[in-house]
Symmetry: C2
Subunit: 456 residues, 2 copies
Amino acid sequence: MNEQMTERPWETLSEILKTSDTEELRRYLEALSPAETARTVSRLSSQEQSKLLMVLEPQDAADVIEGFSDTQAIELIEYLPAENAAAIVDEIPSDRQADLLAELDEKDAEAILKEMSPEEADAVRHLLTYDPNTAGGLMIKEYVAYKEEDRVCDVLEDLENNRGIYKDYHVQYLYVRDKEERLAGVLRIHDLLYAPRDALLNTLMIKDPLYVSVQATVGKLREFFSEHGLFGVPVVDTESKLVGVVLPVAVEEASVKRANRQFLGLSGIVGGEEFRTMPLLVRSGRRFSWLSINIVLNIIAASVIAYYQDTLVAVIALAVFLPMISDMSGCSGNQAVAVSMRELTLGLIRPKEILRVIGKELGLGALNGLGLGLLLGGVALLWKGNPFLGLVVGGALMANTMLAVTFGGVLPLALKSVKLDPALVSSPVLTTVTDMCGFFLVLSLATALLPRLAGG
Amino acid sequence: MNEQMTERPWETLSEILKTSDTEELRRYLEALSPAETARTVSRLSSQEQSKLLMVLEPQDAADVIEGFSDTQAIELIEYLPAENAAAIVDEIPSDRQADLLAELDEKDAEAILKEMSPEEADAVRHLLTYDPNTAGGLMIKEYVAYKEEDRVCDVLEDLENNRGIYKDYHVQYLYVRDKEERLAGVLRIHDLLYAPRDALLNTLMIKDPLYVSVQATVGKLREFFSEHGLFGVPVVDTESKLVGVVLPVAVEEASVKRANRQFLGLSGIVGGEEFRTMPLLVRSGRRFSWLSINIVLNIIAASVIAYYQDTLVAVIALAVFLPMISDMSGCSGNQAVAVSMRELTLGLIRPKEILRVIGKELGLGALNGLGLGLLLGGVALLWKGNPFLGLVVGGALMANTMLAVTFGGVLPLALKSVKLDPALVSSPVLTTVTDMCGFFLVLSLATALLPRLAGG
């Protein structure tokens, strides 16, 4: 929140880095806000970034990493020697450790895990076995659990002795395990306040506590926390053993990530986030791979136009309207795609409810198609004075809008049913279909009415 | 979680509703998960929804409302008589109350506020004075504060006496005010554990605690919580008075909302969320208002084609390529828009760094333009056997890709500088500009090379 900072703080940082003065570096970074730190460090060269992370104390380097998005953090880590990377990763909370290691090459991840402290490494290896969008992937290992037969005084003593470790934990509840390591109960810190010091935990704890399974999805977890305003929920595996705790913040972060993935996917940024600090060829290659699929689909769609060349020569005005019909149908269809994706995310609709969506979109498509068709048809009529041109252009846009809206509404449900990601697949499929149909409608109608049009 | 539920639970609910049996309704809804409740209730008619909320106890009705997104919740509330709405809103946490009332008509909101309990209404009125995307708008009023000269025993007694009220609060910290109501310190519940019962709070509390101002933005709050792993942060007004507490979950929720707004905005769903349970005319009208702006922009862009009609008649093959160049340039440009929007959100770039973006996008645009241009030019050459057609089409796509990528990258920064929302404005502006330039490049190049092309 240092507003008087220099315009280009990375230049200052780069200067300090030359001196390798750990203390000075720490001081400089501490004066920057986390966003400023991320911006500043991202502007350094890869060599400088690696040096910075190696010169800083691991805890300070971990603070830098924590301010970064996963994609950026991984780029920084993968250039470090495994032992330096491990020392830094050791200092990061376990759910984030798992997120990062999951996105590294398996070989790089393994090298880092080998260098980490054995307990930390075991905890992360365990988290890595779960899907990152389930409770197993979102849970943290930083929780405090005791045995049923422990006493209040044992707990207080342990809390006191391990203050240094626990202070970084989000300790709201203490968990109680039975002899088979199963979750037996939950104890609120508050409830220790008035308890006799020699009471057994199983006399104080809340029995049959709420919990989720390792497979619980982000959606289920959001529901859980909106229903129960708790600070965390214990996670149990298939044998009812307590294996971790999910915090509400982790669930919301997963939702933010999903919404961002949808946004980027629909915009054609696929295969991970892109930042302009990445190498040009990586950025260009990733974007191009998506574009090259689209251009092939475009060529297929445009072949419809090539088929009707003679009609186009006879009524060249149609060439003006083809791109508009393509673009407007894409717009109408994308609106319906977005509404379906939101309704799916919110659980307001199920993938098999395709008939419901058709029912809801067909009428809307007819209305908006009528409006757009009248507009564009009117423009065509006014321009060339030929009512048949208006009829062809307006009629085709109207019919194609109905089709685009209905198809766009159904598409995400259909993709979801066959386990494809609507955010990645909807847009190219939609525009190809609506382009082909739109071109066909205009040009086949025009061919049928050719004598009336060519006279215009 | 009730998987054996009927396929169409809203029909069962509708049947129960006819009996107006409060207890039976409550039991039926309780068996549904929150998402199922939202889906089920949203499928009822407006009359049935109003009846349901009025028949249920206010607390149960509030639970139903809390499972809904703001847009849906408002639709339900605005049809209720003000006194029923007020009784329900009374039961909702204060930050959510403010979100909902802020989106209602001022008259409706005022009617509800008049019927609410005076303390609740005052708290909400206060929250409503702040921008919903600042600490003032995100904070809750459900916190517990004491005076500096209070003693531990006073606090414990108060906590005990008001257990019923405080159990719904997220009490992690107790806040301590000085005589002028200013924030003086923070006390962790834990620290009461070992404290002598007659100790004054100002001897136990953490002095000079961390706080944020009512104006702190979502971005600053995210930074704050990522830097300090706290359960909440006190919010002070311009006179340093303690006015509320922001929880990390509220900040993440605001981020989810922003990401969804971006996603919907880019897809052409503007003016609020759309659900298919809304009336057809509302849905159609909102979508159409955005489409009608786009069709006008499309007509403007297509006028470039109309201007070059003679060239098109001479080389009709160009008509096949125009929609492709429009579509592909839009795709390339949208990728750059998405990257800029993400970098702006993450604070990795500032709105005035336009030159940096140009530098980073121009090279990428040249590379990808070359790739796409070679592809499309090659197709044109193979199709018609005319190298000049390939040159015109490929060259135009290459140049227009460079332009689209650079313009797309810069656009969100420029819009942000003039306080326009990139999510709403980027896409229509981008496609209009890239369409016009694309059409102009193809057709003016073709006109210049007409003798070579017409012979092909």
